[in-house]
């Protein structure tokens, strides 16, 4: 194994470590929200700093590899993909932080379960956690076929979140006193929709890295193999 391969393997280990942490952050944010567990929310907020440290380290190490080893072909695609995956995973961690912050700062002790059900929050979380784990496996196994599966799931997430606009508007009409809380749930739905987009972006990078195939801005290509 040459020096560059060693550096690339180290980078892969780092991003895998960050990824595992973000999967756990998203899972804990879900638990914290569904159970309105303020302690768990505080833990998510604390760990967010560790995600930031990972992000900075991965950026720095990628820059060093580019500057010192001038990788080409599959090595170059790997480093470019890692840089973009890093940004997307960090943003998923930001969503987990945002949800945890909502729970931690809320003066309330419980959340309206009927509203959570109306917002299909549990269902969205489950789908997104599965997508995030799937792209992680695709990355670890260098498996573009697995990455392709994520695109159709993101389409479904978009469809669900679009339908929730009317559902939550109806909820406000029927329960005008809960407008503030409903708006917060609406904001969480929007955040979760963005997590789907990030998973889709990551899947694009995995396909680019493994197959040298650029899928960006090509919905047709993505869904054809999905």
């Amino acid at each position: 194994m040459n020096h560059l391969e060693n550096e690339i393997n180290k980078l892969k280990e780092e991003i895998s470590g960050m990824w595992t942490m973000v999967i756990s952050q998203l899972s804990n944010a879900r638990e914290a929200l569904m159970n309105f567990d303020k302690d768990l929310a505080a833990e998510v907020l604390f760990k967010e700093r560790m995600v930031d440290v990972y992000e900075l380290k991965i950026d720095k190490d990628s820059e060093s590899i580019l500057a010192l080893y001038q990788p080409v072909a599959s090595d170059l695609r790997f480093v470019l993909a890692v840089l973009k995956i890093n940004t997307n995973i960090e943003r998923i961690a930001d969503v987990a932080k945002g949800i945890a912050k909502f729970v931690a700062k809320s003066p309330k002790e419980t959340l309206n379960q009927e509203l959570l059900t109306a917002g299909r929050i549990e269902e969205l979380f489950a789908m997104l956690q599965s997508m995030l784990s799937e792209v992680f496996s695709a990355f670890e196994e260098e498996n573009p076929k697995l990455a392709f599966k994520v695109f159709a799931k993101d389409e479904l997430i978009d469809k669900i979140t679009r339908s929730l606009d009317d559902t939550l508007a109806d909820y406000i009409r029927k329960n005008p006193s809960e407008i503030h809380e409903t708006m917060q749930i609406f904001s969480i739905v929007r955040k979760l929709e963005r997590v789907g987009d990030h998973c889709s972006n990551i899947a694009e990078e995995i396909v680019f890295c493994t197959e040298a195939n650029v899928l960006k801005h090509s919905k047709k290509k993505k869904l054809k193999n999905s």
Binding site: V72, A73, S74, L76, A212
Partner: protein, 250 residues
Amino acid sequence: MLKIQTRDLNLFYGSFQALKNISMEIKANKVTALIGPSGCGKSTYLRVFNRMNDLIPNVKIQGDVMIDGENIYRSGINIDELRMNVGMVFQKPNPFPKSIFENVAYGLRVNGIHDKTEIEESVVNSLKQAALWTEVDGKLNKSAYELSGGQQQRLCIARALAIKPSIILMDEPASALDPISTAKIEELIHQLKSEITIVIVTHNMQQASRVSDYTGFFYLGELIEFGKTTKIFTKPDNPHTENYITGRFG
């Protein structure tokens, strides 16, 4: 436009086959880099274009080598004319033990040009073209050996340019130079390609990717892959090429 073309080229040093069925099309006014591990045949291939291999005993060549549509191995070809058209720059700068001026003027004189003004103009133009003029202006009568290695290499390029070749072959032209001199040679290659077709052999992968438009990867006397440099260095078709350029070779 096509400048050089080889078809089913085989070259033997005695019983050893150094080149195997090489077919390649080199475009005019482009830089083509030949890469590959030591002994792969890239320098042998380069020397085919100005028939330098003819000087080696027991060399046998089969196949076609066309420059501007003419087979340069046909009988009756004028080798001096061929070498005027196809200049060459070697790994180590090899100036003559003469003045800077005489080094550049030499080729003109041996080719029958004796008009003093014409020679002077040509020397100045060639030194300017080789990006050396500003460094040697006023010192033309000094010995070429007083120049640095990088300057000597550019002097050799000026010497080659003076006889107005349409092709320049470069065999590791910067491997003995420091980074600043290397950068100057690479910049010069960029500037020259608007007028001249350049074929360069290099072991430096980054140099090949920086200076060339097309790249050919040789291995054990075979041309494994040839294509646009951007393609070879980002998405090569052949796994051997990928392994070589990423340093996983062997």
